[in-house]
């Protein structure tokens, strides 16, 4: 109980202090809205919220999925093949080094204002940690496990599927947890540059009208979405790979 009650109490205290400071010093709401006005402005646009949430969520999940589908096999490839790794790894490091906010406008010009641009932006933000985590997990496979598979006559593919991949699972999930969080960031960046709905759009359109209360409400919703998605990955891991939770804790 205590690990839930304590943070809730301190959050409540924080909001209370914030609220009273805003009232006490009569801070104008275009500089710092009180929590109560953030809440009120949320209620105002409540009916529109699901549309924005869904738009962002769609980008987050689609972008994440594309990243996972590309990053995991790529991670396996670069960990196992020296030539592939030498040929493409530096490029991937470079691609990852580009600040996404800098390249996003270029991508939009190239690919248009549709979902494609947002998927590419999203991919650029979140594929790297997933790929690196996968490669790390594959390379971390204990020699004794490989000896076991070799002593039973396993070939390269069998040992990849029955030893290296399962061993990499807890590593991959670490990458996925970082990736899903980054995917939310990627989606918001995409929406900042080009979109007519989504929580990122809501923030941009509210701030241009100095409606900080509404923008902050969108931020809170985004944060909640991020936490829920992170927990979602955790739940998938617990459900399908329960053994990997312990393995991860030990790392």
């Amino acid at each position: 109980m205590r690990p839930i009650v304590l943070p809730v109490l301190s959050l409540a205290a924080l909001l209370l202090i914030w609220e009273s400071l805003v009232w006490l010093f009569e801070v104008p709401s275009y500089l710092l809205p009180a929590p109560s006005s953030v809440w009120a402005s949320g209620l105002q646009i409540l009916s529109a919220v699901p549309v924005h949430v869904w738009a962002t969520l769609y980008t987050v999940l689609a972008g994440f999925l594309v990243s996972v589908i590309i990053a995991i096999p790529l991670g396996v490839l670069i960990s196992l093949n020296r030539v592939a790794s030498e040929a493409i790894y530096p490029l991937l490091v470079f691609a990852n080094a580009i600040p996404v906010i800098a390249i996003a406008p270029i991508i939009v010009v190239m690919l248009g204002t549709g979902i494609e641009s947002r998927l590419v932006i999203n991919f650029l933000v979140c594929f790297f940690p997933i790929m690196v985590a996968t490669a790390t997990g594959i390379l971390d496979t204990p020699k004794a496990y490989l000896d076991l598979s070799r002593s039973t006559g396993a070939g390269f593919m069998t040992s990849l599927v029955t030893i290296r991949m399962p061993h990499a699972v807890p590593f991959i999930f670490s990458g996925l947890k970082i990736g899903i969080t980054l995917s939310v960031i990627g989606a918001v960046v995409g929406e900042f540059i080009t979109s007519n709905r989504g929580l990122g759009y809501l923030i941009v359109s509210s701030t241009t009208n100095f409606d900080l209360a509404r923008a902050m409400f969108a931020v809170v919703v985004l944060a909640i979405m991020s936490v829920v998605l992170f927990q979602g990955v955790q739940i998938i891991q617990k459900f399908w790979f329960p053994w990997s939770i312990k393995a991860q804790d030990m790392k």
Binding site: A144, D147, L148, S151, T152, G153, P166, F241, W243
Partner: protein, 264 residues
């Protein structure tokens, strides 16, 4: 029952680099079918390397290992391997771990071998945990599962690399009894690596004593005690005699070592 012939095997690590190290030099050893042979020697003398050469995990730099008189590579179901740490895969249940060698051979065989695997699990007393993951098991139970896995393909030869060295003394004794029984019941050829002299005497029908720098066999001793054996054989005159012979060959060499280093 297959025999193992080790003929003038040498193993040099890093032969093409700077760190040339001769782990085995000109090792010859004949292991009869059905024998319980222990490789005994101090740490670093090449016991594991020799075992890995028999298992086909390491290729001798010189010489060769022949199994069952057959030329060419033996099938992988000729040999079962038991590791020092149990080396169970943490993502598989005990049953699936025991079935792992079957899974590698062919996925479609797994169903067919289930009953055999369960039987082996029963023999090593793990039926109640067959569906649990290995990390919920004690060290002794894990090592039992490792032995069951080594036996699942019904190999002719079971190779074990210090399988009990990580266990507490009591569990160790218990498993030694079970191993003797298992050897007696299956009649398979067992090759057992250890650095414990009493363990080697209690278990073996033959002991190959090894020395280091370079790794080689210094002495081969027959241990003729009849089965079933009890721990009291360790107090018999013959056991004390064997023990003395082993210690003499290990320590005489290390004292030679000391005196020669003093000379320098």
């Amino acid at each position: 029952m297959k025999d193992v012939q080790i003929e003038s095997v040498s193993k040099v690590f890093g032969a093409d680099g700077d760190n040339v190290f001769t782990a085995l030099k000109d090792v010859s050893l004949a292991i009869d079918g059905g024998e319980f042979l222990s490789l005994l020697g101090p740490s670093g003398c090449g016991k594991s390397t020799l075992l890995r050469c028999i298992a086909g995990l390491e290729k001798p730099t010189q010489g060769m290992v022949t199994i069952g008189g057959g030329a060419g590579k033996p099938g992988f179901d000729t040999i079962g391997l038991v590791f020092q740490s149990s080396n169970l895969l943490p993502w598989l249940s005990v049953l699936d771990n025991v079935l792992y060698p079957v899974r590698v051979k062919s996925r479609s065989l797994v169903r067919q071998y289930r009953d055999r695997a369960m039987e082996l699990i029963d023999q090593v007393g793990l039926t109640h945990v067959a569906n649990q993951l290995p990390d919920s098991l004690s060290g002794g139970m894990q090592q039992r599962a490792g032995i069951a896995r080594g036996l699942v393909m019904d190999p002719d030869i079971l190779l074990m690399d210090e399988p009990f060295s990580a266990l507490d003394a009591m569990t160790r004794e218990e498993l030694q009894f079970e191993l003797v029984r298992l050897h007696h019941e299956t009649g398979k050829t067992f090759v057992f690596v250890t650095h414990s002299i009493p363990e080697a005497i209690f278990l073996s029908s033959k002991i190959a004593v090894m020395e280091s720098f370079p790794g080689r066999i210094s002495q081969i001793l027959d241990v003729e005690f009849p089965h079933p054996r009890g721990l009291e054989i360790l107090n018999s005159d013959r056991a004390i005699e064997i023990d003395g012979a082993i210690r003499a060959s290990i320590y005489s060499r290390s004292s030679q070592h000391n005196s020669s280093s003093k000379d320098i």
